[in-house]
Symmetry: none
DNA sequence: CATGAATGAGTATTCATTCAT
DNA sequence: AATGAATGAATACTCATTCAT
């Protein structure tokens, strides 16, 4: 038992090392040019061991993406609350930005988009996770705000779509085409602009 | 003279064949996995001839993208007019969709996004062409509508950004992650939804 | 331990095979026309394995040259002694010939000369090894002969240069331009001629 | 007649252009890497025209070498005379140097040596022309000096071989292995050294 | 269970030579 | 006679995956 559990522990530690190394290399070089041998070297593991854990490069890639997805989902769920309505919205937007840039979700998206021809399932899953699930989260949040009387009653799914489109237009599209793109200096101003537009239409008039 | 012009004609015909074949293969397999030899074979040309026309795979790719860009720019400029304001907006949105799907701009974007790490200039150029230039076009159109009294005076650049974000959220993002994604059945309904939202905020009240 | 040492042994055996095959092919076809794939085939090894051992064709070439250099240096150091002065000189000259022809140093020089435009470091290193180092060896030997009273006191570096020039003029130059050139029948006579000239000028008069 | 002769003239002018361009490219890039297309371009001629004049790259190369040989032979025959014996010898040595370096004979030799495996005839011819013929010239000159009483009667063929070996040892061997090698600053001193050695053995004692 | 050496199939690019005009 | 576009064969190098130890 003890031996077995020790082995399992070591094994899962190696697995985590591999996934970390894979994320590192995939983000640095893209799927195609990231060499399995390099990933193994960075993870300090032999290629054979890597293949024991993941049957193929594709599988390793899928696992890597999933890992990031889970981490991102967790982080997104733990948003700091805000005192006022505008503050809450601002905080949510900031969390979004931090995920996209600090956790390099923009980079990951670029790779998944690149490979979505060859990995259709992966692409669809990522879309669900990174676009739909978040929109659903926003919809639910907006519903609460409506119930609380902070927002006018309205089609919250539509307004969530709005918000998502606006945020992406400002902060994600440029990053997809330019990997050196970082959070712009006037990000807060832009976020406030977006929120102003949103509140002008859907706000209940309270501050 | 005749000889020279004959040669130029044949040569430019071959060039066009090559670009067509390149677009085909790049869209099918992505930049990395599209083999130069295959492109040459599809174009019914030897690889050496291909390399006479385009010094490298990168150059060929850039030429392919540029070709599509020019075609798209031309087509976008020739939009059908509309009788009413809503019709005009609807037509513009439809033109946008036709470009993205019928000319496979979504696919091209996917490839450029995939390669923008390795081809930063290409990525930036495409962003300017496909995102900024179109937004500027929309901004100018909205300005005219304001001048005509069809829209309220407002920040047209912002509203154009809005429209772009909304359209992409519905019609481009899903396509980036799923190459089989086609124009949805309810596209017109979605477009109308977007326009309704837009007019509710910026319309001058006329039909 | 055993596994590791086993691997090392196998690996170094393959390395040696590759170098042998490379020497063979380079000598047969020259650097440019020797195909890496052919070298691998002759060594009974895949090209990938070859590239594991040597990062590039250039590196393989440098290693091949170095290998021969080391072997030649060793062999040159173990010259048979001679009873008389003339015999000693004759033996030295014969060792020189044996290296140039039996170990195909003439052929190797031809290739390095051919590539010295593209591999300047290799060319310079080989010149130092195959021309300067040997001349220094001869200079030292002559100094001893002077000290022993067998040769007149004189500028031994100059006389060594002499000897080197004479030997090359007879035995190396023809080989550079004609790969089929072998040790001529009258080599001993020519060597004796050279020694006679040398002794007539620098000999102390003893037999 | 006139038309025909005109054509012949133009044709031979083009031939000369091609040979010039070929010499240029071969010296710059070596035989293998000199591209026929580049030679044609430099000569301002189509490749087809080039192939009309020379059936193959090899043929062109042979013609190029021959051309240089002829030019060198001519130049070597027109040596400036000298007042004293030492001066005559010095002048001859200087002519030798000028050919080797200024006309880039060292570079040409390097290429011929490189290709002598594939072009045995060319190699042998060049050896005859550049080594034997010159040695015969020197032998004849030395014979005259003996007849004039300036040199002791001796085996002039042998002494000519001596001189050739010495000169090459100092000025040609380094250049073969290092293309950037130029005439050294102390060339005159080295030449005088060689001549001193020569005269010490073969001089008749007159200044 | 872990290793890392070995592999074979693949890829972009070059170049001497030919041929329709 | 002259052109230059077209070719096919060749070449160095890479990488996901396996297997003997």
């Amino acid at each position: 038992m003890t031996l077995e559990s020790y082995r399992r522990e070591v094994s899962s530690a190696k697995r985590a090392d591999i996934v970390r190394a894979a994320a590192d290399q995939f983000l640095k070089h893209g799927y195609q040019r990231a060499a399995v041998a390099d990933i193994a070297r960075v993870a300090d593991v032999s290629t054979a061991t890597l293949y024991k854990h993941f049957g193929s490069k594709e599988e390793l890639f899928a696992a890597t993406v999933e890992e990031v997805q889970n981490a991102v989902d967790d982080e997104f769920a733990q948003q700091p609350p805000g005192a006022t309505l505008a503050e809450m919205l601002h905080n949510a937007a900031r969390t979004y930005l931090s995920l996209q840039f600090d956790r390099n979700l923009n980079g990951l998206m670029r790779i998944v988009i690149a490979e979505s021809g060859r990995h259709p399932k992966l692409g669809r899953r990522m879309y669900l996770s990174f676009v739909n699930r978040r929109r659903d989260g926003a919809t639910a949040a907006f519903d609460k705000m409506v119930a609380a009387g902070w927002l006018k009653p309205h089609d919250t799914h539509l307004s969530a779509t709005f918000m998502g489109g606006m945020m992406k237009e400002f902060f994600v599209w440029p990053a997809l085409f330019d990997p050196t793109f970082t959070i712009p200096e006037d990000a807060d101003a832009k976020i406030d602009e977006i929120i102003a537009v949103f509140l002008a239409r859907y706000g209940a008039g309270h501050p």
